[in-house]
Symmetry: none
């Protein structure tokens, strides 16, 4: 297949920002099946050089797609098309898991030798700590 860079056309005079043009065209290629799960996208620098723009602009486009879950950007490794769970899959995953998560948390805590009450107490503390916006690193150790 032709290099991705050659398939992306930028219109420097369009109202649409460059990074959105890139993101949109990658989306369309995925939708068209031209890009498939696991495919590696060009590095931000490669694509930027081809398109004669700054690599941060490509990085912004990739960031948008990453937020969508369409791709996976991995520092030091590269950028890849990511499996996108369907809405119903997400829904199914959501159904049962909260209790299972709690169950697993409890089991793992008990494996460490803690009682369910201690596990619950630490959870409360972690919640409290993450709730405070500016929390000086809470030290739970002394409190138990």
């Amino acid at each position: 297949m032709k290099p991705l860079a050659e398939q992306i056309k930028l219109d420097f005079r369009a109202g649409e920002p460059l990074y959105m043009q890139i993101a949109r065209q990658v989306e369309q290629m995925v939708a068209a099946g031209l890009l498939q799960v696991g495919d590696q996208l060009p590095t931000v620098r490669e694509l930027a050089t081809e398109l004669r723009i700054n690599f941060n602009t490509v990085a912004r486009a990739y960031h948008v797609l990453d937020d969508q879950g369409l791709i996976s950007t991995q520092r030091g490794r590269g950028t890849y098309i990511w499996e996108q769970p369907t809405e119903e899959m997400m829904q199914k995953l959501k159904q049962k898991t909260l209790e299972e998560l709690a169950q697993r948390f409890l089991e793992e805590s008990q494996n460490l030798g803690y009682s369910p009450e201690q596990a619950a107490e630490v959870l409360r503390q972690v919640i409290a700590a993450s709730g405070t916006a500016d929390m000086a690193a809470s030290n739970i150790d002394q409190e138990m």
Copy 2:
């Protein structure tokens, strides 16, 4: 016991660096008693191959653990769980692990769209249910 490599799960999309994920999970296995004094860890290349990452990333994880005194890495020899941590170290390690477990439980719950309070409430119910013989699936969603 299952090979260590199979027990380590990497999330390539997580914010947490891969080497930290590895180091943390090894810590947790030590805290849980799954790894004991003298046990040999996989070589950096073995583990890296299994995890499909570069062996330097494993080496970096091992280096972190070596600095903590938890393991001993020896060029040409391999990597081993170091002397049994003192009771105090073990206590701290377990405490840290428990907090990390709570943190992860919380994050995963929130990823599913639940509030910290809902997560805590479900945990309470699971605890209560595990006390009694059977636990009917509680449906907390409508209650909060």
